[in-house]
Symmetry: C3
Subunit: 341 residues, 3 copies
Amino acid sequence: IASSGGGSGGDGWWQKTSVGGYGEVHYNGGDTDEVDIHRFVLFINHEFNDKVRFFSELEVEHGVAGEGQNGEVEVEQAFVEIDVAEHHSVTAGLQLVPVGILNITHEPPTFYGVERNNVEVNIIPTTWWEAGIGAHGELGSGFAYSAFVHSGLRVPTTGANAFRIRNGRQKVSEAKAKDGAVTTQLTYSGIPGVQFGVTGQYQSDLTQGEGEKTSATLFEAHVDSSFAFGPGSIGFRALAARWDLDSNAAEAIGRDEQYGWYIEPSYRFPVWYGDLGFFARYSEWDNSAGGGADSEFSQTQIGANYWPVEDVVFKLDYQFDDAPAGGTEDDRLNVGVGFQF
Amino acid sequence: IASSGGGSGGDGWWQKTSVGGYGEVHYNGGDTDEVDIHRFVLFINHEFNDKVRFFSELEVEHGVAGEGQNGEVEVEQAFVEIDVAEHHSVTAGLQLVPVGILNITHEPPTFYGVERNNVEVNIIPTTWWEAGIGAHGELGSGFAYSAFVHSGLRVPTTGANAFRIRNGRQKVSEAKAKDGAVTTQLTYSGIPGVQFGVTGQYQSDLTQGEGEKTSATLFEAHVDSSFAFGPGSIGFRALAARWDLDSNAAEAIGRDEQYGWYIEPSYRFPVWYGDLGFFARYSEWDNSAGGGADSEFSQTQIGANYWPVEDVVFKLDYQFDDAPAGGTEDDRLNVGVGFQF
Amino acid sequence: IASSGGGSGGDGWWQKTSVGGYGEVHYNGGDTDEVDIHRFVLFINHEFNDKVRFFSELEVEHGVAGEGQNGEVEVEQAFVEIDVAEHHSVTAGLQLVPVGILNITHEPPTFYGVERNNVEVNIIPTTWWEAGIGAHGELGSGFAYSAFVHSGLRVPTTGANAFRIRNGRQKVSEAKAKDGAVTTQLTYSGIPGVQFGVTGQYQSDLTQGEGEKTSATLFEAHVDSSFAFGPGSIGFRALAARWDLDSNAAEAIGRDEQYGWYIEPSYRFPVWYGDLGFFARYSEWDNSAGGGADSEFSQTQIGANYWPVEDVVFKLDYQFDDAPAGGTEDDRLNVGVGFQF
C-alpha cells in the first residue's frame, strides 16, 4: 500500500527524515492597518545515504488558501542533492535561486525588520524558486560557488506590471519552459564574520516567446558582516541589484533598467534574558529606471529585534516612505513575532 | 541554505519537535446526503527550551483546496508560549480564543456527535482563532485564568448575514486591525471530574469602522463533568453563550441579541474491546433574538460513540431539527469516524 | 489546550507517529513545453497499538494552490486500520480504491515513464480515493483480497465530458452520497516475482440521481512481474480495464463502453553507482468505445530510469501519440526527477 511505503517502516525513520519550520505573524499600522499570519512554513528533509539528500519547504501564505481566499499554499523547495566529490555536489529539482541575502536565508530570526526589505522583494523577487540542475561547492581559501541552469521568468507584456520582474515568477506551477535561464553565484567568506557575494543571471527571453524577444541580465552584489564590539556585536548588511532588459517594448515604458540597493547597520547585545538589537535601513528601488520620469522609491526604517531565545524573535520598526509622484506612501509602525525550528 | 536550517540538524530534532494530528470523515444523511472528509489537521510543536515553546495547527477542510474547490487550507494556531513565573505564561501569535468547550478542545474522540453542536458553531464561532498576546496561569485552589488581547471580528453590515457573528471571522488573513478585542476566561476545576468556565469578551466596533459603530459583549458559561457510576461514568456538559451588540443597525434586524445553550447528558462504559458511550443533546440558538419574529432554532440529538482505542472513535447520531418559519429542517442520520494522535 | 494534545507529549511520539513523502518535478517538451512540480506528498502515519493504525496522504499538486492558481491541496488517504484476526483487517475512512497497479503504488521510483500511463489516468482515474469501509486479508497460498464499500462517482451528464469516468471523481469533498459503490479485488503472488490482480466494481447510478439512472461495472486485470536475467532483471507489466455503463444517455454518445490496456517490458541492471533501466510501453484507451466513430487513442513510449539510490529516480522518455480525428497528438520528450522517503 502506498501509504505504508512511507514513514511507517521500522525503527529509525526519524534518523533519516526531519521536520522543521518557521513563520511570522505581523501587524502593519498606517493605512494598511492589518494583522496577518504572513507565512507558516514546514521543512521536510531526508537523508537517503551519506551522499544523497532531499530538502523541501512547504508554505502557507496569509493563513487561509482556497477559492475566494487571500492565501496560497506553495511548494518552494523540493530537490535532491548528490555529493559528487569532496566539497562539491549537484542538485536537481525545485530550488531557491542563489542570489542576494534573503532569498536563501529568510527565517524571521535571521533578519531585522518586520517585513522583508523592498529591494529583495521588487528587484530580487524573494522568495524566488525555479526548477533545474545546480552545481555547488567550495573552491578553497573561503570561496564558494553555485551554478544553476533553470526555468525562467515569464513577465507580463502589457498592463501596469509589464516587464516587472516580480510579476514574472511562474513558481514552477505548469511553468512555460520555452526559455530557461542560468545563474551563477560566487561567495567569499575568508574574513571571519564577513560574507561577500556576487551573482549574475542571464535569460534569453523574459516573455517566453509571447512578446518581443527581451533578453535580461541580472547583476547583484552584497555583504553581510558582524564584528564584536563592546558587550555585543555590530552588524552591517548592504546589497545592490540591477536588471538590464533588452527590447524596444521594455525600453518604451522604462522597464529596460530596474535596480535597487540598501544599507543596514545594526547593533545586537545580550540583555537579562535573551538578546536585543537595533537597526536602521535605508533602501532605494526603481522598477522603471529606464524612463525619463522620477520613478524611484526610497524607504528609511528604524527598529528593534528582541530574541528571548535564538530562534524566536519579536520585532518592531517604523518606516518612512518616499514615493515618486503618484506612488503610495504609508509611513507606519510594524510589529511582528517570528520563529524557526 | 534555508532548507537545511530546519530539521536536518544533528541527532535529536525529534526530541524538540513533534508531529501529531486529528481528523474526521462524515456521512450526513437526510437532504444533505453527503460524505466528506470534514477536516484533517496536523499539529507541529517545538520546545525551544524548558521555558519557551511553539504550538501550531495546520488544517485542510473538506479535503480539496484550490480554485473552484470546496475546501480550504488554514493555519489555525501558530504561537509562542513563554513561561514567566511558575504556573504563569505569556503567549504571542495566532491562538484559539479561550471560550466554551469545543473551541479549545475539538479533537473528534473528545466529544459526542458527528458534527459539532450548533451553539458552538453559530454563537461561538468555533474554530475561532485570533492573533494577539495572552496571559495564562493558575491561581491556586483549582482556579485558572486566560486573558487575551487580540484582533477582532469584522461582521458584514448588509445582506442576510449582516451582524451574524460567524460571518465576522477574519481568520488572521490580512485581517482589518482597526478594532481589536479583549477576552478573559476563568475556569474552576477544584471538584474532581468537573470543570466550570466563564468567559467575557468586549470589542468596541464589530464593523471595523465600515458601518455604524457597533460595540459587542460576549458572555459564556459552561460545565463539563464526568462521574463514575456503575461500570462506567456519567458525563454531563452544558453551555450557554450570549452576544449583545449595541447599534441601531444591529437592532433594526434583531441581531443586537444572539444567544444559544445546550445540555448533553451521556454515559460511557467499557465493552469487550474499547469503550461505548451514549448521549442525548438538546440545543437552542438564535442569531436574531432581538427581533419580534420567532427566529429560534432548536435541535434534539441522540447517538452513540464507540472507541476501539482511546484516540479513535466511530460515531452515529440522529438529529431532530426544529426551525422557525422559513428555516431549514433536515432530520437525519449522521455517521462518522474520527481520530487523534 | 488542543494544540498540546498532539505531538508534544512525553518521550517517544516518534515511535508511534511517522512522516514520509514523495514527489516529482517534470519537464514536458513538445507543444506542452512546461516545467512543473507535478506533485509533492506527505505521508503521516500512526500506530495506536499493535492492532490499530492510521494512514494518511496529503498532497500538493502543481506547486501552488489558491484563488486563481493551477494547483490543489488534497487529502488522498486518511483511514484507520484495525486487525480483526491474523492476516485480516478492516479499514474505515478515506482510502485508495484497490484497482490496477498505479492507483495503489504510485511513488515515482516504482514505475517507468515521467508521466503515469494514460490507461491508469483515463480509464482507471488514478489517483482515485473514496470514503468507506474495507476488509483486507490473505487467503493462503499467495491469494489476498480486498473488499471495499464506498462513496461513488458522479459523472457529468452533459457536455464534452458527459459520462467520462475521470470527471466523475468527487474526491470525498462534500461528495453526493445518494449512490455508493462496491469494489472487490483478488491478487495472487504465489509465483516468486509475479503478482496477478483482478478487480470488479459495481455502482447502481453514476449520475447520483441527477440524470438517467446509469449503472456501471468496471472490470480490471493486471500482471506485474520481475525475473532475474543476466546482470539485472527483466520486468513486465500489463493491464486491461473496461467500463460498461447501462443507460440510453451514455449509449447515445458512445460512453457506454470505455476501455484501455497497456503492456510494458523493461530491463533494469546495476551500473557503477545505482541502477539503470530501459522500458517500452504501448497503450490504447478509448472513452467513447461504444460509438461508431473511431475514438481510440494509442501511445508508444520508450525511455529510461536511472536510480542513484533506490528511492531517487531520474527519468527520460519519448512518447509517440496516435489520436483519432480531432484528437490532440503531442509527440514529445519528457524528463523528470522523483523521490520517495
